[in-house]
């Protein structure tokens, strides 16, 4: 029997050994900061972006560690729980999903350490704790929502981006007659439908004014204006692809990039992937004109913050990590980020290198609206975005707009407590 005890003992040593291995992160005086991200495709870009920081901080080396985006949400909490050897700086989702990390004490509050005096408070909201109001991350990118269109198809058909809703439906009819799908979208994925709703319906429900009223609790999602905005979006069904309820997100993308569809309601985040999958594609974008009965008489560009970078509370190099996120709030980082990764930087005073994105960002700054279902109602289960999308899915299947509005109200009121007038 003693022999078997020895075997067990030996085995347990083998199992335990890697766990006890000492952390070998700082060699000599040089500190290696691990940056955890869900963007493997940006690895080369970040290397370029971080180079000036490493130059000005000769004692710091940055190790960009990307994880597959579909696994990031499950990996991040485990990494942050490690008492040692975890990442130093982590990429964070905006708004709701970071709240449980904040309340578990996994992130370092950055108030007073990072200079965000020039930042728009609505941008910073994406990285703030809902309960304590402290800042836990430096937002890195903005996304805008609008209608992307295929310039070549528009030129071939002799059509221009519409200025009014009547022009918009007329050009959709014209495209349909030419056997081109006017609007490519996915009816299978609720979040895509929620984006469509924000793009086509924001003018109808009243953009930020409605969002503020809903947050205060003075208006509900059963409000006639909100219900009508759902109706506006669902009534576009004839212009969506055939059997849209079964069209998946990648299918919708392919329909547009392959030139089978003329327009694609989506975000600035699509421009990169679309150009990669079809380099010949000439993309333009326009904001959806005010819908019939709109509360806002001009087109709006909706937007939201894409995410932020925060500091792990268990980091062994908190000072250096804080130094890095401090730098991430400077125009130097913002401009490098915008030009290298073709994104809209969240840092004030920067302009995207891509002319298309620069135009979208300009529109957002002059006539912006926040993507309410993510910015304001993305903090509980069910997420506003998911509930809104489910309601639209039901409408595509025949449910009335009034019932859809009730479903949105029921879902969000399950966790959302209005702030009061």
């Amino acid at each position: 029997m003693r022999k078997f005890c020895t075997v067990i003992a030996a085995l347990s040593v083998v199992v335990a050994a890697p766990a006890c291995a000492p952390s070998t992160k700082s060699s000599g005086d040089k500190v290696t900061l691990t940056v955890l991200s869900w963007r493997p495709e940006d690895t080369a870009g970040y290397k370029k972006i971080f180079a000036p920081f490493e130059k000005s901080h000769p004692k710091v080396k940055i190790d960009f560690k990307p994880i597959k985006n579909t696994e990031y949400a499950t990996v991040l909490p485990t990494e942050l729980k490690k008492s040692q050897g975890g990442p130093d700086v982590v990429q964070l989702k905006p708004y709701g999903p970071i709240q449980s990390l904040i309340s578990a004490g996994n992130l370092v509050p950055l108030d007073g350490q990072v200079d965000v005096s020039k930042w728009d408070p609505t941008v910073l909201q994406a990285a703030k704790g809902k309960q304590d109001g402290k800042l836990y991350g430096v937002p890195y990118a903005m996304q805008t929502l609008q209608v992307l269109y295929n310039k070549k198809i528009f030129a071939d058909q002799g059509i221009q981006p519409p200025k009014t809703w009547a022009e918009f439906t007329a050009l959709c009819d014209k495209l349909k007659q030419a056997k081109i799908t006017p609007l490519s979208t996915s009816g299978l994925q609720p979040w895509v439908l929620a984006v469509d709703h924000q793009i086509f319906g924001a003018t109808r429900f009243g953009g930020d004014d409605f969002a503020k009223a809903a947050v205060a609790g003075t208006k509900k999602f059963t409000d006639p204006d909100f219900v009508a905005s759902l109706d506006v979006t669902a009534k576009l069904k004839p212009y969506y692809p055939d059997k849209v309820t079964a069209v998946d997100y990648p299918d919708a993308q392919t329909l547009f990039t392959s030139g089978k569809a003329a327009m694609y309601p989506g975000g600035s985040y699509e421009v990169g992937p679309f150009t990669t999958s079809n380099p010949d594609l000439q993309i333009g974008f326009f904001d959806a004109p005010p819908a019939p009965g709109a509360k806002i008489d001009h087109a709006v560009t909706s937007g939201f913050v894409d995410g932020s970078y925060g500091v792990n509370a268990h980091s062994e190099h908190k000072a250096e990590a804080t130094e890095l996120v401090k730098w991430m709030a400077t125009p130097e980082f913002g401009q490098l980020f915008a030009s290298t990764l073709k994104q809209i930087s969240a840092v004030p005073g920067t302009t995207p290198g891509d002319p298309l994105l620069a135009q979208a960002y300009q529109n957002f700054k002059t006539n912006g609206a926040r993507y309410m279902m993510v910015v304001d109602f993305g903090y509980g289960n069910p997420l506003g975005r998911d509930q809104d999308g489910e309601a639209l899915q039901k409408m595509l299947g025949g449910t009335s707009a009034a019932d859809a509005g009730k479903l949105v109200q029921k879902g969000i009121s399950a966790w959302f407590k209005p702030s009061g007038g």
């Binding site: 004490g105 089978k260 029921k410």
Partner: protein, 320 residues
């Protein structure tokens, strides 16, 4: 071990069978240890920790105070979970019934037909079992492309033979999506009951059928009165394994319809609900809620499997 063989063995070594058995334990343990260790680390430990997690309140990954049964209470009373749990359970049940009707029946049919056929038996057996070798994620992805309304082969084939009217938004219609998932799942797994039935059929002596024929039984009567009752033990195993597989299903539906059981949760099953509650839940108590759900699923599946196994044992006993 029968007493007789024990005596013979015991008389040789001059030991009682009990002592001999005891002396063999260390050796048995030695061979069992690696599997036991892996089983404990990867199955028993997670099960127990899930049980423990389910009784606590969580804030992200931080375990807070003892919560008693409140996580379980939330599962049944807190919208949207309260609605999703029952809907997912109903979908699992529907999935199981559908699979038994389609997959098990087809498996039995193929086994009987192949049992009788002389030519192509091996080839067909391999062909039917082949989808089994593909990962459910891959199978789900392949079918999602074939069922695609724009580029998919299924609707294109229907249009090609002039049945374009039958082309459907297969994955997008809330009434069709779950039956479609059942059929895809059956396509993948039909080989499994077929193999089990084939083995059982091979074990039924021909004499039984000859005797039935002599007594004037038709082919159908011979199958219904002789073959089928003798297949009860296998039917029991197939039923229980199908039940376990169907109530744990996640990967295929995830690949076909995403983590939300699209459209409008019409293909949401307990496995997907667990995944969402654990990993896509903005609620700080995600670990508590999802562990409670996992415990409920385990109790349900374990309990029903035991009852069903007992039931089939009793039916088998009646055969003898």
């Amino acid at each position: 071990m029968t007493p007789a063989s024990g005596e013979i063995a015991g008389s040789g070594g001059g030991e009682t069978p009990r002592r001999r058995k005891r002396r063999r334990w260390p050796l048995l343990l030695f061979f069992l240890l690696p599997a036991l260790l892996l089983y404990t680390v990867f199955i028993v430990y997670p099960l127990i920790s899930a049980l423990q997690y389910s009784f606590f309140e969580w804030t992200g990954t931080r375990q807070d105070g003892f919560a008693g049964l409140s996580n379980f209470h939330d599962l049944l009373t807190k919208y949207p979970l309260s609605e999703q749990v029952w809907r997912a359970l109903a979908h699992n049940t529907f999935f199981f019934i559908g699979t038994m009707l389609i997959q098990t029946t087809a498996g039995l049919l193929f086994a009987v037909l192949l049992h009788r056929s002389r030519r192509g038996k091996r080839f067909l057996q391999t062909a039917y079992i082949l989808p089994h070798l593909v990962s459910p994620i891959v199978a789900g992805y392949l079918w999602s492309m074939m069922l695609n309304p724009q580029f998919g082969a299924v609707n294109a084939a229907l249009r090609g033979i002039g049945l374009g009217g039958l082309a459907q938004p297969w994955r997008g219609d809330p009434h069709l999506a779950l039956p479609v998932a059942i059929v895809v799942n059956a396509w993948q797994w039909v080989g499994f009951p077929m193999l089990l039935f084939a083995a059982a059929l091979a074990g039924i002596p021909d004499e039984y059928h000859e005797a039935a024929r002599v007594d004037g039984a038709s082919a159908w009567q011979s199958f219904r009165r002789v073959t089928l009752p003798l297949l009860t033990p296998v039917l029991g195993i197939v039923t229980v394994l199908t039940f376990i597989g169907n109530f744990n299903i996640l990967d295929l539906i995830y690949a076909l319809q995403g983590s939300k059981g699209n459209p409008t949760y019409s293909t949401d099953v307990l496995g997907l609900l667990f995944y969402r509650t654990a990993f896509e839940n903005p609620d700080a108590n995600a670990i508590g809620e999802s562990s409670a759900l996992a415990v409920c699923m385990f109790v349900l599946i374990f309990g029903v499997s035991i009852v069903a196994t007992r039931f089939f044992r009793r039916m088998e006993a009646r055969l003898k």
